[in-house]
Each structure stands twice: as C-alpha cells, then as structure tokens.
Symmetry: none
Subunit: 235 residues, 4 copies
C-alpha cells in the first residue's frame, strides 16, 4: 500500500522498463534494435522516447532534432508529421511523461486500512528513493525545473495537472497525520511543500553534485520524517 510517488513509477507500457539502465544521450545513439517501429503509433512513441532522452540530457535549446530522429530510428521529416515543431514535441513529451502520473495522483492512498501516516510517508519516501532517484524520472523532474521558466505554458500545465494534485494529496496526508496525533505541528498542513522539499533537493543534489558527494537519500529522508513526526530525538 502507501504508494504515492510524485512521479509515476510503473514501467512505461511497451518499453521494457528502461528505468535503471537507460541510454545516456551522449552516446552516438544506439541504432535502436526495434526493427523500425512500424505502426504510426509506435513511431510516434519512439520519437517521444527519443526526445525525452535528448531533451533531458541537453535541455531544450541544445537538443538537435537530428539527434532525436536518429535515436528514434526515424527520418527527420517524420517528426513533423507528428508534431508541429520542436516546441510542440517538447511539450507533448512532458505531458506524455506525466500522463500516467496524473491518474495516480488523483487517488490518494491514505486511510485505506487505518495505517499510520508515518508508514504512508515512509513508503512514499522509499518509493521515491527507489523509483525516481537515479532514473530517467529524475531527469524529467530536473528538466521541468530547468526549462519551466522558459516555458510558462508548461509550468502552468505542470502545476495544474501534477503539482496541484500532489499538494492536495500531501495536505490530506498531513491532516491525516495530525488527526491521528502523529504530527503535532498543525502549521505543516499549510505548507505541504515542506514534505516534498527534501525530495526535490535530493534530485537536484544528485544531478549537480552526485559525482562529488553522493547523498544517502534514504537516510536523509528518514531524518526528514523524524523531524516531521517529532521523533529521532537523542535520549
């Protein structure tokens, strides 16, 4: 139970879970064994997947559609059969990446069996550490943070479709914890951002400084929860 990730964690259908072993964008672009992804739908999906790789690795402006096409095993012109232009591909791609997540977010998992809020949050943290940190999903989050300012439309969409729901869910979870007496600071319900904050920070940290000073994400999130639940005190 208690799964409630900010980012969808289920394997993308049809693509065997590139989660752990994804292709970095700085390799010459693997020929994509997939024998030319016939159906139009597969082609489109291939373009989106390839775009995700490239955009997350290089950012919007520095990504070349040529590379995307190559990586997708498709001709450059084909991209324009599916997307109006580079920006359309980019936005569509973020939407696609977030799609499954939106469904999930709408069904908060709390109060199902009377479990503790702490347990729910721990599960959330653990899932996050396992299914986001070090995966392509982290790249997506980083990308949204990076490009969001330049694409207000995108930020809006992200806010409406993901953040708003997520915040609402978090708040419910917090209120649940308050109601059960687990959380003693009622002010937390006003700022659910404080609950997710450390997760965002870990994503950024690992992306920028992971090489130098990798973070023990799980441990850190545990301390974080201890603070919230007023536990972990010495003595």
């Amino acid at each position: 139970m208690a799964k409630f990730p900010l980012i969808d964690t289920r394997p993308v259908k049809g693509k065997p879970a590139r989660t752990k072993a994804r292709a970095p964008a700085d390799r010459p672009a693997p020929p994509r064994p997939s024998k030319r992804a016939v159906g139009a739908t597969e082609r489109r999906a291939a373009i989106v997947a390839a775009g995700l790789d490239e955009f997350t690795a290089k950012g919007f402006a520095a990504t070349r559609l040529d590379d995307v096409a190559k990586r997708a095993g498709v001709a450059k012109g084909t991209i324009y059969l599916h997307f109006k232009d580079k920006e359309a591909l980019f936005q569509e791609l973020v939407r696609t990446a977030l799609g499954p997540l939106i469904v999930r977010i709408s069904n908060p998992p709390i109060g199902v069996g009377g479990g503790s809020a702490r347990a729910a949050m721990e599960a959330l943290a653990e899932t996050f550490a396992r299914e986001v940190i070090g995966t392509r999903r982290a790249d997506i989050v980083r990308m949204i943070i990076s490009e969001g300012t330049r694409f207000p439309q995108l930020a809006d969409f992200y806010y409406r479709e993901v953040i708003a729901h997520g915040i609402a869910g978090m708040r419910k979870l917090i209120q649940y914890g308050i109601a059960r007496g687990e959380i003693r600071n009622p002010g937390l319900a006003d700022f659910p951002q404080l609950l997710v904050g450390p997760m965002i920070v870990t994503v950024i940290w690992q992306g920028l400084f992971g090489k130098h000073a990798p973070l023990d994400v799980a441990a850190m999130l545990r301390v974080h929860l201890d603070l919230i639940f007023d536990e972990g005190r010495a003595t």
Copy 2:
C-alpha cells in the same frame, strides 16, 4: 548579527541595487550610460551584468551575444576583448555573482554572543526571504540549477566554492543547536541539506508557479524551523 545568507546581499558597489526592479530580458534594452567615457572595468562589469540578465532569462544556449552586447551598450566584438567565448563569459559571470558570497560563507555568525541557534537560523531565513526571493539572486540560483548539469565544470566550481562552505556552516549551526539542547534530533547534523532544502524549494516554486500560487515564504520557513526545533506543536 546572525546574517548568513546563501547569496550575498550587499548591494553591488557602483550599481544602484538593481535588486528589486531589474530589467526583464524582453525589453529592447535600457538606454544604459553608453557614454564612451566609461573605463574598461565598468565596461566589463556592464557585460557581466547584461550577461547575467540574458543568461538567467533565456538560459545558456538560447542567449544571443548580440543581445548581451546591446544590453551592455557595447559592440559585439567588445565582449571578446574580455572573454574568450560565450562559455567563458557564462562561467566568469557565475563566479562574479558568487564572489562576494564566498567571503560571507566563510565567516559563520554563530557563537558570537551566545545567541540561540534558533535566532541565528531565523535571521538567516529572514535574510534569505528578503534578499534572495524575488531578486536577481534567485535567478542566479535557478540558473545554476538549470545549467549545472550541462556544465559539470561549473557545478564543480559551485560545489567547491559555495556549497561545501555552506554545508559546513550549516552543520556547525546545527551542532551548535544540538549542543545547546535546542535541536533534539542529532541526525540532522548529518544532513544540513535538510536545513537549506526549503529555501531552494521556494526559489524553484516562485520561479515556476509563483504567478499562480505565490508562496508565503517567511511563514513557510517559520514552520520549517518549528519542525527542526520541535516547536509549534498544537497546545
């Protein structure tokens, strides 16, 4: 006392604190002094300032040196008298922006007069809210987050010169709080990131969603501190 901002808050000498009212990058470029009488140093500073505006607004790849030059009131070629190329300008610019900060970071303000850790942190939070949020400094932080992945060198520099010092300072502050019995969870000393995390989050939040859902940063940071100091509990 007890000032400890992540980003330098003193007005840049000679430039009347463009802090609050900075020029958005989409205006045709402000008239600028433009008198030929300005010295080489001022010219260089103007380029750096213009670059800061443009890079933070558009990102590295999308920034045109032509625009930087125009904004700096300088010919395009002039940029190359001061910087080897676009990337050199970018890196130098980050360094310059962080320069004063580094000095500040190296002098942690604790233990001066036996003040409480809470007070120190509150001052820090308040300074942050006032001098970073809504400021060009927030843009810089966002920019580092955005471009850091594409400029490992830069991320390294940032880590070495700023983050490492900042983390060390935070840890000292936390240990001080623990020693004084203010903070009861000793685990926090292992993850000073948890202390700064919410600040980073507010920067990102305001940048991306500020228009839709502005955050009461001060209030949020207060709750954050309450969690850390185990206060704010109902009843």
Copy 3:
C-alpha cells in the same frame, strides 16, 4: 598519339567545355540550370565547379562560400551536405580537377610505334599550349602554386598523384630520346623538371603579365625543344 598533357584535356562530361569562355568570378553568377530536378551528383558537381571558379579567382581565404553557393545555384547549407567545411571543399575540388589527369599520366605514350622523341614532345607541347594555356586548367595550376604552401597536405597529394608520375614519364621520354641519339645531353635525364619548366613558366607569365606582354607560347616551346634536341642552330 603522343598526347601527354600535364593536365587532362578532355572536356568534362556533361558540362559543354567551359574551356575557353569561362565565367569570371566577378559576374553576378550565371543563371545556371537551377531546376530543382537535378540529382545529387549534379548538385555536387555544380558546387565543385563553382568552387573552382571562385577559388581560382580569389584564392582560398578570400573566397566566400556564399558566392560559391550562389554560383552553384544552391543554398549555402547545401554545401555542407557534401563537404565537411571550406577546406574539405577546396581539397576535394583539386582532387576532382586532377582526377582524370592522373589516369592519363600513368600511361606514357612513348615507344608505341617507334616515333621520334622530338615528335612526342612536340605533340605534348602543342597539346599543352592548346588545352591548358588560356584555360581553366591553367587556373588550377596557378592555384596549386599559390595555395600549395598553405596546404602542405595538398602539395603532398599533388606531388604523389601528379608530379611524381609526370616526372617519371618525362624521364622515360628523355631516356628514350637519349637512347635514340636525339638528345645528346644525358644529364637532362636527371632533371626532367627542365623539360616541363617552360610550360609552368608560360602559365605563370600569362596569368601575371599576359595582358601586357602576351607570350607566343607555341613558338617559345619550339625554341625550348630546339635547345633540348640541339637543333635550331643558325646556319
């Protein structure tokens, strides 16, 4: 028989012998076929031809790819579909211009039917005067002389592929003449350059001073051969 020009003299296939009336590089660029129906090979050939015109007229550094493109009836970017960069175009162009020549050089025409060495050399000289002097081929030779120093790679190539063969052929011809008793100075076989020298000189002379003092190339080469064959003496 007895044709042995330093430069290929056969009309380039598909292009009706721009030999005598070639377009000077300072005309706005001839209308050119320009129909989009031309195949990739023709396009490439057009670029090479245009490049030849421009490079020979202006030299490597002063040639603008913009002009080459215009003259070829092609967009600037198209050049880059065929050549890595300006230098690659230049080198390829020299190679192409010399290509047919290399084949010819490899098949010396002597000893075929026991003809005299003098006859062979006369034919060579006549062909040279007719098919090189005043021709685009002369431009190529001049260009190699001009740019060779700046492109050691190119000079190497030219030496290996053309000069070495040419020198060897000349030497054979000379030795043939010596064996037949036509040439009495055996030392000439050590310096075949002396045989070709005057031809090179005429190319340079006509290029530099032709306007002022045109040279009767045929007559001069005849005297040259008289010297070699120890003829032409008064009385």
Copy 4:
C-alpha cells in the same frame, strides 16, 4: 663580376642579413630585441619587415594585421599612421622588397671585360642558387606569383619595374652569347624567359615539394646552361 640576380642580393641596410636564418611566421612572433625601434622611419621599416614575414608565410588574405603589429613590436593603430590600409601596406612592401633590385637590374654586367656569356650566366645561376633559394627572397618571388593575379596593379608594377628590365638584360646577355658564337640558337633571343624559367621552377619546386624531393638546384642549373650552350653532350 657577372652578378645579375633577378632579386637583389645585398643585405637590407640596417638589418643584419636575415638571409639564411629568418624567422618563420608560424612562431609566436619573436619580441624583436630591437628596443622598440624609436625613430618613425625605423618603425615603418619594422612594419614592412614584419609584413613581409607574415604576407609571404600566409598570403595576403590570411595575414592578420594584428600579427604584423605584434611582430613589428608596434601597436596596431600605428600601421595606419604609415599605410592607408592593409592593401597599401602589402603593395608598398613588395615595392620596398624590390626596390634595391630595380637599381641593380638597370645596370647589366655584361661586356665589361669581354668575359664569356657562359661565365656570366654561370655566375648569375650561382648567385641565384646561393642568394635566393632557401631565403626570404624566394618567399617574395613565390608571393608575387601567388598574389599577382589578385593584384593586377601589383603585377603591372612588377612587370614594369622588374620583369621588363630583367628580360631586356637577359636578351642582351643572350645576344652577347650569340655574337660571340657561344650560343648557336638565335631563337633564344626572342624568349629570354627560357633562360630564367628553370630558376622560377626551382623556387616553386622547393616551396611545394622541397620537403619530399629537394632539388639539387646548382646541378640542375648547370645542365640547363649546358643545353643552352650546346655542351654537356655525351662523348
């Protein structure tokens, strides 16, 4: 006696005969020990000398005035105090390089003491081999050949001031030889170019292929004279 080089061989006054050991233009540019060449005239001379180095090494278009200035130990702007523009410097420079030569050319050395024409020509050839081949003078000749087409004005000047005189001198020498019965082919008097041709060829050859196949210039010129004087025959 019998000195009659196409190119002046006397050391340039005030400059200690950089003949053999000249500075190649691809070195970082020697600081020029000369303590800043004070007098205006020295400055101008320094610029001309530096220009000669650079232009011969890189050609007109590829030479940067910045490099010339650096090599001359002068500020870039100073060049414009002495020369209208890059082209003016270039032309002036060629004139200067040829200046002393013109004087010499006007005083043909033949018939002085009734020496043989062969002796005169041998002396000429020897001087050429010693004082031109492998020296900066060869560079100048090569440069004129290279850039002449692009600078008709320059070629005109060169023709008028040097070539015309030289050709006339050669013709006189040839006629002298004919009159003395040394040269039996009177046709040679119509094409004095045939006399100088091999020298030009050696300059070009050494410049382009000298690395691969250095030429024994002296030996070659001897054979050349043997041909002209109808000597060197076997038996």
